[in-house]
Point group: C2
Chain length 201, copies 2
């Protein structure tokens, strides 16, 4: 990148650190930002700082909250506190919200991963067990990514709440809606076969 | 996007204004930025402001420059000032640089587009004519995008310098290197046929 002015190159390198952003896209965006009017650039820059500054962790679900208090979901008393959905990251809450789930959440902030030195106490599992007992939760729905670490964490949670009277389930695995069978990978297909559902009529 | 905290939603909307950035990618990036450490967020935000603040327009080629003076290319006296490459946008200079061109540049900051009310005097064409005369340029290479407006602008430049002793050329059009003939569109293919090159051996 000879002769690219240093401030643009530096901005491109910063943008390049964002996920899914290659150096070509990052450079294109950097040029676009320089080309924007000053108000637009100031808005973008201050939105970045504000988002980092104003977002807090909700003390109840450990998801994102705007105030120092509880988040919008935890402070919504119409929600079913007997149904608790466990997710890995704060943003997963908003993905689940789109599905119409009306229970409450618990964000683990990670999954158990011995290779990375992450044990059950390094993520919010002790807080989960306490919450399940305190709120008399009736069902825990574990919605972690279907990976080795995700599955191990799901099993660990199931074992940890074994003595408590609570149902535990995980998201179904199978063919995604709208997918074509011949584009589905082998692991997904074999799981969809294993977990096949009886058709009643 | 119910329940997504407002600062994250606002940042996502700002990112969504960038080219090629859909609302889903923008939201994913907004969550990622909130998840970054404070130093990273501050660096990103200040790089955006700095790039806008520190970039100036070079008074000679009208491309980007870091100082208030000439850009790195115009102040490089080893370059061939007899060969002048005309481009549409400042960022096009750096694309051409990668091809190994060692002449100088002139950035038009647009193309002639009567439908948008952009005439020859609204872009840097008068400055181009003056520069060609002042520097005794021997060849003008017009490197505009191959569009109706780009072609019209190229023709206008050719007519404007008709009285001056200067060669004028434009980029060759044809099959891109590495492309497979059956994936090339019809317009490109017919142009590649028109501008076919004799093979000498």
């Amino acid at each position: 990148m000879d002769y690219i002015p240093e401030p643009i190159e530096k901005l491109a390198r910063e943008l390049n650190k964002l996920p899914g952003m290659g150096i070509k896209t990052a450079t294109r965006l950097a040029f676009h930002i320089v080309d924007m009017n000053s108000d637009g650039v100031n808005d973008l820059s201050s939105c970045i700082l504000d988002a980092k500054k104003d977002i807090r962790i909700c003390p109840l679900c450990h998801g994102y909250s705007v105030n120092t208090g509880e988040c919008g979901i935890c402070s919504d008393y119409s929600r079913d506190t007997k149904s608790l959905c466990v997710v890995q990251r704060p943003q997963d809450v908003f993905v689940l919200e789109r599905s119409g789930f009306r229970g409450i959440y618990h964000v683990l902030h990670g999954v158990i991963s011995p290779l990375d030195g992450i044990g059950p106490d390094d993520i919010k599992i002790p807080e989960l067990i306490k919450k399940v007992k305190d709120l008399n939760v009736e069902e825990i729905i574990v919605a972690l990514n279907p990976s080795v670490e995700g599955d191990a964490t799901t099993l660990f949670i199931a074992k940890s709440v074994h003595d408590i009277k609570v149902r535990i389930s995980r998201l179904a695995r199978g063919v995604p809606a709208g997918a074509s069978i011949d584009y589905v990978d082998d692991v997904t297909l074999s799981r969809a076969l294993e977990e096949r559902q009886e058709v009643s009529c």
